[in-house]
């Protein structure tokens, strides 16, 4: 037994492929690990690893970010390139989209030169067949000198054969036929290859040197730096490369990059036409037909608006029913616990901790779960269908005017539901600066957790115009986001203009399994992240309100009251008092806590309804200023946590918090004093 264990070996498999090739679905099918399947270019950003037990060992599969080429364009693509080049997996499995074979073979053309044992998963073969694209699989395998396995990742078909082939090639020495770049380029490549023998670890395998040399000739900055740093006499090498480049470019009458891309596309095209006997590039596909309506230059916008409107309608109207049920359920639970524990003589402080702290805190968040699930369900459907890329295409002009990217639009839409998944959704943005900019403006988008605050305040102070006031919050939220985007873009990233080169994936019918899996994962991430943090936060607030022992709950002598008094000067400029300061402070944990804080601070034990006691603290004007502040300052701790996770930087996280709070302060103060000047209170 022990011997057997020792003998177990693990084979490292890298899963590479273009975005939209269904790579993630193949990954799920191989590893059985739950993971997201989408239709956005570049949906897998993190390095995700899965395992698969095989007789006598295991496969360790790394799902690389989708990439179009090995000259990295985004940080994600760099991750993929570096992993293949320097970590050297035992096998690389390239997932290619059978219905888009020619484009996908371009990546294969580059990976071939890395001398890694290679298996091709000819994925989405069903879609290719549906479009009447007949691929000669054996011929393709012969030309690539690697096993080619037709698969349908979504349905899990062909996966066993794929694993078999991976095992089969794992121990082979792989040396495929080199790609012929043409005599001029070949000469230059060989010339450079001789020179870089100073870095033997880079050129140990049979064609690796070719690949590195080609990258050097093309002027890849990182590879150049790496090779030069491996040598003692950098200047001669640099000069030599420049010379080779110049000579070759002169003879080719074009630049090296174009020549290399030409040769690789030529290779891909050659193979494509060899194995596909009825190439159809120009026929009108179903995707074209659907696009004629959905991306129509006049109809496109109204359809998009209608889809978004429907999603929001469904999210909030359909979601309202289970919301009520969850509220009732939590009421019931806290009543049961309250009376049950009291009967067995549990100390009152403990009951209070459980009921006022933990249960009311968790309940406050879980109440939003139906909304989140419905919103994510529709978003997943749209992603899976392929519509999200069209939305980015339609919205790019508007977003670009705001200083953002077409793809920023989707996170903003999600942000109306919850900021946490919205920040996570920015991963689809390839450029770091665009992504950061989007993350920084997302807190201004009015998330559903803020609604209870506005419902309470607009109902209390603007009874007849409550709807209008509510609407004004949405308008203000959008205006603030636009203003912040403009401001940050001008100050932080002047002159930034990311190219918008995006593939529009073909439409396909979403798989229910994929959509449900994705919805479940996002909803679960929300429950987990928000739930744990808010639970801890609620207990913390409870403690602040009850300590030191013996004080009135959240009274002036409690820690919460003392903190409120301390920060009162900061809220006085927009007409609020210390109770409001405490509520806002607690609102950091989650915005909806603002409401429960007020009910605790103002009306607990007095028997006066909250709306009456609120009116003693606020005038309509100061109430509106308070709403403005509540709208704009940092949404919640969970958002802060996810911003830290997604930006990987405390600097930007702290910046985001300070930026939102100061924006909130300035705008609330302006509202208050502007209103005063206009004689509104």
């Amino acid at each position: 037994m022990a011997y057997e264990k020792k003998n177990k070996k693990s084979i490292n498999v890298a899963l590479a492929g273009n975005p939209n090739s269904g790579k993630t679905s193949v990954f799920n099918a191989v590893t059985g690990m739950k993971q997201y399947v989408g239709n956005w270019p570049g949906v897998t950003v993190e390095k995700v690893i899965g395992k698969r037990e095989i007789p006598g060992g295991k496969l360790e599969i790394t799902d690389l970010p989708g990439t179009y080429s090995l000259s990295p364009y985004s940080p994600d693509e760099k991750v993929a390139r570096d992993y293949l080049l320097f970590e050297r997996p035992d096998v690389v499995c390239i997932v290619v989209d059978a219905s888009n074979l020619e484009r996908n073979l371009y990546l294969v053309a580059q990976i071939v030169e890395l001398d890694l044992p290679m298996v091709i998963a000819l994925n989405m073969i069903d879609i290719a067949h549906a479009r009447d694209i007949q691929i000669e699989v054996e011929n393709l395998s012969r030309l690539l000198k690697a096993p080619v396995i037709p698969t349908i990742g979504r349905a899990g078909e062909g996966i066993d054969e794929l694993i078999e082939s991976i095992l089969c090639v794992a121990n082979q020495d792989f040396c495929p036929p080199p790609l012929d770049y043409g005599s001029e380029l070949e000469k230059a490549i060989i010339d450079v290859e001789k020179e870089i023998s100073v870095a033997p670890q880079l050129i140990s395998r049979c064609h690796m040197g070719r690949f590195i040399s080609a990258m050097l000739l093309a002027g890849d900055p990182e590879i150049t730096k790496m090779v030069l740093s491996a040598s003692n006499h950098t200047e001669p090498i640099r000069k030599h490369i420049a010379k080779c480049r110049m000579v070759a470019e002169k003879r080719l009458r074009t630049d090296i990059e174009t020549a290399l891309a030409n040769a690789r596309h030529g290779w891909a095209s050659g193979i494509y036409h060899e194995v596909v006997k009825n190439p159809r590039h120009q026929e009108l596909t179903n995707t074209d037909r659907i696009d004629n309506i959905l991306s129509h230059r006049i109809l496109g916008f109204p359809i998009f608006a209608a889809i978004m409107f429907f999603i929001f309608w469904a999210t909030f109207n359909v979601g309202a029913y289970p919301m009520g049920l969850i509220e009732k359920l939590f009421e019931l639970i806290s009543n049961l616990i309250d009376s049950g524990l009291a009967q067995i003589g549990t100390p009152e402080i403990l009951i209070s901790l459980l009921v006022d702290g933990a249960i009311s805190g968790a309940g406050g968040v879980l109440v939003f779960l139906p909304n989140i699930i419905i919103l994510f369900f529709f978003i997943s459907v749209l992603e899976d269908v392929g519509y999200m890329a069209r939305a980015a295409f339609l919205m790019d002009k508007v977003m670009h005017k705001m200083g953002l990217h077409g793809k920023s639009f989707i996170p903003i839409i999600i942000g109306f539901g919850c900021t946490v998944p919205a920040v996570m959704a920015t991963r689809t943005l390839e450029n770091q600066e665009d992504r950061l900019l989007t993350i920084l403006i997302l807190p201004f988008v009015l998330c559903s957790a803020r609604i209870p605050v506005f419902v309470l305040f607009s109902g209390t102070f603007f009874a007849e115009n409550a709807g209008l006031v509510m609407f004004s919050m949405y308008v203000l939220s959008i205006l603030t986001a636009v203003f912040a985007a403009k401001l940050l873009k001008t100050v932080l990233f002047p002159g930034l203009s990311t190219p918008f080169v995006m593939e529009l994936p073909p439409y396909h019918i979403p798989s229910l399994r994929g959509v449900l899996l994705h919805t479940w994962e996002r909803a679960w991430a929300f429950v987990k992240k928000a739930g744990t943090i808010i639970l801890i936060g609620s207990v913390f607030i409870w403690a602040l309100s009850n300590l030191p022992p013996g004080v009135d709950y959240a009274g002036e002598e409690s820690l919460a009251g003392m903190i409120g008094k301390l920060i009162e000067p900061l809220v006085v400029p927009f007409g609020a008092n210390w109770q409001a300061a405490v509520a806002l402070l607690f609102g950091f944990v989650a915005k909806e806590i603002v409401v429960s804080s007020f009910s605790v601070l103002l009306s607990s034990g007095t028997g006066i309804p909250l709306s009456t006691s609120l009116a003693t603290v606020f005038t309509p004007l100061s109430a509106y200023a308070f709403m403005v502040f509540a709208l704009i300052y940092t949404p919640c701790i969970a958002t802060v946590a996810v911003i830290k996770k997604e930006t990987g930087s405390w600097k930007w996280t702290i910046f985001s918090v300070l930026f939102s709070v100061s924006m909130a302060f300035v705008l609330a103060t302006l509202t208050y004093w502007g209103g005063k000047l206009l004689g509104l209170g």
Binding site: T258, N262, S295, R297, F393, D396, P499, M502
Partner: protein
């Protein structure tokens, strides 16, 4: 002429891709190399990005990127994706 001058459904052969650095290498990687035949499919509302078909795939480009691609117009498309015309080019039949 550059890509922005093609009309819906028209085909063109890429003559040259200008620009530099990352943008250019991205365009090359996406299959926009000289000699490639592309088809103009549509344009987003409000003078937004273009969609072209290249090597069987749909690609969306902003005007600023489309401008970098010099094309030689070929025959007109066999089908029109929709009737609307954009970017009417003076002097063209």
């Amino acid at each position: 002429m550059n890509l922005t001058h093609l009309r819906h459904g028209d085909f063109g052969r890429i003559n040259e891709v200008s620009g530099s650095g990352r943008i250019r290498s991205r365009l090359l990687d996406m299959g926009l190399v000289s000699g490639t035949v592309i088809q103009m499919i549509r344009r987003a509302p409000l003078m937004g990005p273009f969609v072209i078909k290249v090597r069987g795939a749909l690609l969306s480009l902003r005007p600023s990127e489309a401008m970098l691609i010099d094309v030689i117009p070929m025959r007109k498309g066999r089908f029109r994706h929709h009737r609307g015309r954009f970017n009417r080019h003076k002097g063209r039949k």
